[in-house]
């Protein structure tokens, strides 16, 4: 009983810490904009949906969210495909120098993004991909690749050797073994990697600013950055846009949550 209370309190603290700023943004988005301009931190005196209305009617926000969704989904799919394949190969197939490859992948995470923006912009220009969603998909997939590969590598590595052996005995080619036997147990890793890649692509700013110019390809973070005027900052609209922008992520997380469950390993052992 005491433990349950402790755990409950712990959970409450954690949630309060995590959600605090979000709650403030939510409240701010529901206040009349004039009030927000006068005092952004006060408790609301009145409620109003004006900020939301402004975000959707005065700006092409639906379009922007659509762009972000397209970019995030594509880059996540690409990244996961490449990362799963690479992690599988590094962990379970007799490829020489797998430690070196893992270290090499890490090098992507070491170059500060500010340094690669210039070259990537020039490349996108040369390929005629300026102001397109495609220009963002590839860099995002590549930037998330190291973490995804490392996560999945760990999961593949920790699988019992018998699984793979049994599949081989059954006559599976390596890829068939991967699909039928080895993927289910690493599902938590895939789910985690998918969530992280999606969020990264959704929120990335520096490349998006440099590679997009119109609402044809602009993504959510850049659009929110456009809300601020030279001096005034419309906190109501920013809050409303942020609240809306967070929803797809929460949906993705909720959808992938069931993979973050133990027991899948036990299931595959019976085969």
């Amino acid at each position: 009983m005491k433990r349950a209370i402790l755990l409950g309190a712990g959970l409450f603290l954690v949630l309060a810490f995590c959600l605090g700023p979000y709650v403030w943004l939510l409240i701010t988005s529901l206040r009349p904009p004039a009030e927000v301009a006068a005092d952004p931190a006060a408790l609301p005196a009145a409620l109003s949906l004006e900020s939301f209305r402004a975000v959707f009617s005065e700006r092409p926000f639906f379009r922007i969210v659509g762009n972000s969704l397209l970019v995030a989904i594509l880059s996540t799919a690409l990244c996961l495909a490449a990362a799963t394949a690479a992690a599988f190969a590094l962990a379970r197939l007799p490829v020489p120098g797998n430690r070196a490859v893992l270290a090499l992948l890490l090098s992507v995470s070491m170059l500060p993004p500010v340094a690669s923006v210039g070259p990537v912009y020039l490349a996108a220009s040369a390929l005629g991909l300026r102001d397109t969603a495609a220009a963002l998909v590839m860099p995002y997939a590549a930037l998330s690749l190291p973490l995804a590969t490392w996560i999945l590598h760990g999961f593949f590595r920790d699988l019992p050797a018998d699984l793979h052996r049994a599949a081989k005995v059954d006559g599976c080619t390596p890829l068939q073994a991967l699909r039928k036997v080895l993927l289910p147990p690493v599902a938590p890793g895939i789910a985690a990697a998918a969530i992280l890649t999606f969020i990264f692509s959704w929120n990335e700013f520096l490349f998006a600013l440099s590679l997009t110019s119109t609402d044809r390809s602009r993504t959510v973070p850049v659009e929110i950055a456009l809300f601020a005027g030279v001096h005034e900052v419309p906190w109501g609209e920013i809050a409303a846009a942020s609240v809306v922008a967070t929803l797809p992520i929460l949906l993705v997380v909720a959808a992938l949550d069931r993979f973050l469950v133990r027991g899948l390993l036990a299931g595959s052992g019976k085969g």
Partner: protein, 291 residues
């Protein structure tokens, strides 16, 4: 199929599987890295039409550049403090969420909210919460701290915002790591008479070690490249006491248009990160052999 031929085809499949990842690395890491390396050996200032080879001059400048050294120090402090806090908090959160309780799904999604925010919005929100006049934090704590303007407090404000933003990442990875630890191990330990703490330290933690090291490795690399949070919260101030290496590089590139020196800063920070990663990876291999 003979064993040799089978192995051969496995190797071929392996190379094919690695190809996309390696191509991506070549295109988005090695190629820009080569360009940045080349730039770092030049004085390249488009404003003045200067573009010439200067060898290691830029690096020589950085070695005695107080601003670069101080940015390194600031960044190292942020990395150490943030990663340590995120690990501990992330572990606590992961353990909390590992249990079944009603509303667990919602709790998991809620815990991810900080990570789900665009960083600039999160940093701006914290800027407001910590602001001297309207700050909720000051009001709640009943103090009047100059969070963002005091040379000693500002860097801790940065750490706070970064920990808030990134703990979910650590928690998520640790939670996934916890999922594949079979419950039987825990139960076996229980039978042996071990208490909860002992179970955690002797059974769970060692099995989590690989995940922990992945978390530390990637979070520290991310933290080393910290940019958005510092840029929005303090702009590197006051008096450059919160300027990170990435921010310094950004200023050199995009504000003063000194592409050569900016590239040298980027390469220097890559070298530091490479050394750190080597240490971490060494630890990771050790843990594998042990487990």
């Amino acid at each position: 199929m003979s064993r040799a031929r089978f192995l051969e085809s496995e190797r071929r499949v392996g190379f094919l599987c690695l190809a996309p990842a390696l191509l991506a690395v070549a295109a988005f890491s090695l190629a820009p890295l080569a360009i940045v390396l080349w730039l770092s050996l030049r004085r390249h200032m488009p404003v003045f039409g200067i573009s010439r080879f200067v060898g290691l001059d830029n690096y020589a400048y950085l070695v005695s550049d107080p601003r670069f050294l101080s940015s390194l120090g600031n960044t190292a402090y942020v990395v150490l403090a943030s990663v340590a806090l995120e690990l501990v908090l992330g572990l606590l959160v992961a353990l909390l969420l590992d249990r079944s309780f009603s509303g667990r799904r919602i709790a998991r999604a809620a815990v991810l909210v900080p990570w789900a925010f665009p960083t600039v919005v999160a940093a701006s929100a914290w800027g407001f919460l910590l602001s001297p006049g309207f700050g909720v934090v000051n009001r709640v704590l009943g103090i009047d701290a100059n969070w963002l303007g005091d040379p000693w407090l500002a860097i801790h404000a940065v750490i706070l915002a970064d920990v808030w933003k990134s703990t979910p990442l650590a928690a998520l990875l640790l939670l996934a790591g916890l999922q594949v630890i079979p419950r039987d191990l825990g139960r076996a330990a229980l039978v042996d008479g071990a208490g909860a703490a002992a179970r955690f330290f002797r059974v769970t933690l060692p099995l989590l070690r690989p995940t922990i090291l992945v978390v530390v490795l990637f979070r520290s690399l991310d933290a080393f490249r910290i940019f958005d949070v510092v840029y929005v919260l303090t702009g590197g101030g006051p008096a450059n006491t919160t300027e990170s290496v990435s921010l310094y590089a950004y200023r050199l590139y995009f504000q003063t248009l000194q592409f050569g020196t900016g590239s040298a800063v980027s390469i220097a920070s890559c070298l530091v990160m490479a050394a750190w990663s080597a240490v971490m990876v060494g630890l990771l291999s050790t843990s594998r052999r042990g487990a």
